[in-house]
Symmetry: C2
């Protein structure tokens, strides 16, 4: 468990280790309080390190944020909805720290806003390419936005009905409903059974 306990012998390795410790601390603080409200001193304290060392390692607070909030974006064009659920994580797990940091600041830090815009637009493009019919872009954007909203409501606002959710409920209600926007059926006045959970779609 204790990854910190094992202290490397060589100097370079120790340096790399503290750099990593600083990065993790930064991700946590940024993810919890956002870019503005997070102080370099708070990061340093959490990493058990002097504030100036944080700067020596990463140049500036903003540079550190840029690294700490960087999503690793792989573009799997297939299995889009699954990947979406994975990346924006409506699942039961915690959010990965870098995602948390980025989302937390996306409304207040211009650089985070930009990164999020790019990321989401990318997802929308991928999705809309994968589906067919009229308003493909709109329906893709609908799905992506909803997953974003779900993520925020669940992981950042702690909406009751979403925090107590089970895998089974996701399968029964959330997933079919989300994928519904990707189908063409939306133009109908109201699709009869797609969202009705009376009879769960059997896997």
């Amino acid at each position: 468990m204790d990854a910190d306990a094992t202290e490397p012998r060589t100097r370079a390795a120790r340096r790399a280790a503290t750099a990593q410790r600083i990065l993790k601390a930064a991700q946590f603080e940024f993810g919890e309080r956002g870019l503005d409200a997070t102080t370099v001193r708070a990061i340093a304290t959490r990493a058990r390190v002097d504030p100036s060392l944080v700067i020596q390692h990463y140049g500036s607070k903003n540079d550190l944020f840029a690294i700490a909030a960087q999503l690793h974006r792989e573009s799997t064009d297939e299995d889009v909805i699954e990947h979406l659920l994975d990346v924006l994580d409506v699942r039961l797990n915690e959010l990965p720290p870098e995602t948390r940091a980025l989302v937390r600041s996306m409304l207040t830090a211009p650089e985070a806003t930009l990164a999020m815009q790019e990321f989401l637009n990318e997802r929308v493009k991928g999705l809309s390419r994968a589906i067919e019919g009229v308003d493909a872009d709109l329906r893709a954007a609908l799905t992506v936005s909803s997953v974003l909203g779900l993520t925020i409501a669940r992981h950042f606002l702690g909406l009751h009905a979403l925090t107590e959710i089970s895998e089974e409920q996701i399968a029964r209600t959330v997933r079919p409903w989300l994928t519904a926007a990707l189908g063409e059926d939306t133009t109908a006045p109201r699709s009869a059974d797609s969202a009705r959970p009376e009879q769960p779609p059997t896997p």
Copy 2:
């Protein structure tokens, strides 16, 4: 157009007017940059007023934010989805300034987070009371979260497919899809209290 141009004669009226000017400036700044990144001086400059006057009027920056970001919450139990679309505004209009201020800071300012939690939980409660069937809470939360996501994606991140949207497209795609999560048609019986006191979950 010039609502500011007409200067009231009485002293009290003038004071009230500048108070209003400060409030509007605060809403704009908070809505654009968030609580942390907004300075009292910036608000004062925008209101063409000395920074200290802002404090004299509203006590502190945080008090001012609390007032500037206060949503007027009427609880109309009927026509829930319509009201939801109205309040969280997936429509074509701009967001009302106080909504914008609150949403902008909801991920970084604890007080805003709390206000948003209360607001959304309230909406979820109202919705889930109005619909029937299993997982009513979950389906209500799904809808509310999605509207939140749509609002953010549209008004704060500017997702292409959502900014260029037309009323017709909303009617055709967004609304039916959103209401789909609610199960039955929204215009269906809302006061099901008498008919449905409690419903045991049927697996």
